[in-house]
Symmetry: C2
Subunit: 249 residues, 2 copies
């Protein structure tokens, strides 16, 4: 009974609507209903939107042309017409997602960097960028799948870390902790934010959207205090706990 075939189909996504949500009315079949003809750019954009949404849920490997086509309200050859191949579509989605992620990040970070609680504001900014859109999830899928193509993640991290380190030197002067300390601060922040999106649902007891939101906020506030106090104190207190780290610095 039931000969199900390839590729697991991860429970096939919560039925956002019956399928073909937006333009569905037209396909009650029957007569002709006048077939719509978008500009190439509009079509591409609509398809990308739908594909992005799906991809955040099922990952690049789970994306199905027919599903995306149904969501948009077109037939699957249309997608192939615009993107050449499934792989082309995936690449386009990834590209756009990564670009948007970078843009939002630099914007948000540039915006909130001079408040009185800079660390918290940055964490919140980054969380806003990563969470609500599926950006963090898409990136996580890619990373898991081993596709780390033009993501430029490390460059971003290093740029941020270097800038922050310079700022710190400006404040502390002589006895500023080494660059790697700031690098690790940034890394830890990134890991915490990404990790929360990815394995958070698995580590915390089941909770609804609102509860999750509040818990996330409280956690980020806590983390911000932890990091802020670390940054303010330099590494003094840490040196106490330190016993013999690999030579000097």
């Amino acid at each position: 009974m039931a000969k199900r075939a390839p590729s697991e189909r991860v429970k096939s996504v919560p039925p956002t609507s019956e399928r073909a949500s937006s333009k569905r009315a037209q396909s009650t079949h029957a007569t002709s209903e006048k077939r719509v003809r978008r500009t190439a750019e509009d079509a591409r954009s609509a398809i990308l939107d739908a594909a992005s949404k799906r991809m955040a849920e099922v990952g690049p490997g789970g994306l199905r042309l027919q599903d995306v086509a149904a969501d948009v309200g077109v037939s699957h050859p249309t997608i192939l017409h615009h993107f050449g191949s499934r792989e082309g579509l995936v690449a386009a989605v990834v590209h756009r997602s990564v670009d948007a992620l970078h843009a939002s990040l630099v914007e948000e970070i540039g915006k909130g960097r001079r408040g009185e609680k800079p660390v918290l504001e940055m964490l919140e900014a980054a969380a806003r960028v990563l969470g609500p859109m599926g950006h963090a999830r898409v990136v996580a899928w890619l990373s898991l799948a081993g596709e780390i193509p033009d993501t430029r993640g490390s460059e971003n991290i290093e740029r941020i870390a270097r800038a922050a380190h310079e700022l710190r030197r400006h404040h502390h002067g002589e006895d500023t902790p080494p660059y790697e300390d700031m690098y690790f601060v940034i890394i830890l922040s990134a890991l915490a934010l990404f990790g929360d999106v990815i394995v958070g649902p698995m580590l915390h007891p089941p909770e609804d959207e609102r509860a999750r939101e509040r818990r996330g906020k409280r956690f980020r506030a806590w983390l911000a205090r932890l990091l802020q106090s670390h940054l303010e104190r330099g590494e003094e207190a840490m040196v106490a706990a330190r016993t013999k780290t690999r030579r000097g610095t």
Copy 2:
């Protein structure tokens, strides 16, 4: 040209050997070569091993019966014979992985908890469990795919956090920070460890296995110092950075 079919095939895994690594010699076809017959238990175990390895790389959705079969050196109906269906195999792998993860975790954590640098030792222990075997990756795949079945992750976290909190109260007495502080410490550790396995390769500049290993170790040492100093000082220093957290505690 080339009509490639379903399910992306994520570059099809670094060819660990040509395929059918272990029992391959026998299949040079030609004559009969005497077909091997394991006990049911041995067969299941061999299949599970191969499937686990694949699954850590391609995720539950990407697992292909024929690939696993080839790795083990059997035909794919054999797998179906032992596990009923593909889904059965996936379930079995997940089950075993989760069980092993739990077992290793409690063992390792129980072991290294009375050293002089308890935090570091726990982090290292957890890293040993999560990293080398694909455990963290498997769990991450599941979490991303939304399959959070019998993982019991939150229970584990809470048990650990509660135990650690009790220990802390035993030391600090009256002015012990609230439970949630310890809970967040544990959560942060988990997120950092998981996150490093999942998105680490994307955040750091490209590095070989040894470099990655060393960097990981340095990062965990740094994190351990950060957390240790936080735990020793109670929340005193954090209260300084605190402005007005939602009422009292």
